[in-house]
Symmetry: C2
């Protein structure tokens, strides 16, 4: 149960973190390798404190982590949290597709029954 | 460009809508078929106005739509918005996996080069 609650909370903060275009772009940027806050700020017309705020949200959600090097503390991706969000969406998609498969089957059965008439 | 901006906004509101456990449960419930607000409220210890608020967020994000029947206005799933969120995560996952494939290849090349020494 604790695990389930943890997952729920983790999904909350993951989806919350993804609900912002700057944060999504930062994640996409980090996919190609770790980067400092200064490097991450470059493509955005945003102040360093502005970018830092977004990075803190991503870090709190467990989507990224920061290195211990005191001067730069480069950011890097932690894949697990996003994998949970992915699993939730896949589970939802699977149920949704199963529903349509059932509907297809029902329509086929209906057609076959009609053909026998 | 307009399309891209629309997608960005749509992703914002989709992820925002998914960042709440009640809203995720409502969506999972609607996967098995349409339901009225009263039916959706049943499993939750929440007031009808409370549930209605969540339903409005889902509706605004385009994740569900409501029927026109004046009395009940049943809720049903609209799959497109969630498909966009799914695509974003798949794209991210693909880039992430490609990065590890490149790393694997690099390590294999390194091993082969060492073998030749």
């Amino acid at each position: 149960m604790v695990k389930l609650e943890q997952t729920e909370e983790s999904l909350n903060s993951t989806f919350q973190a993804l609900a912002d275009p700057t944060r999504r772009k930062i994640l996409m940027q980090l996919v190609s390798g770790e980067a400092t806050v200064l490097q991450l700020a470059e493509p955005f017309q945003m102040s360093l404190p502005g970018i830092s705020k977004h990075i803190k949200v991503l870090e709190k959600a467990g989507l990224i982590e920061r290195g211990k090097s005191a001067q730069y503390r480069p950011c890097r991706i932690k894949a697990e949290a996003l994998e949970e969000a992915n699993l939730w969406l896949q589970q939802y998609k699977k149920l949704w597709e199963e529903r349509f498969d059932r509907l297809d089957q029902y329509l086929m059965d209906l057609q076959q029954t009609k053909g026998k008439d």
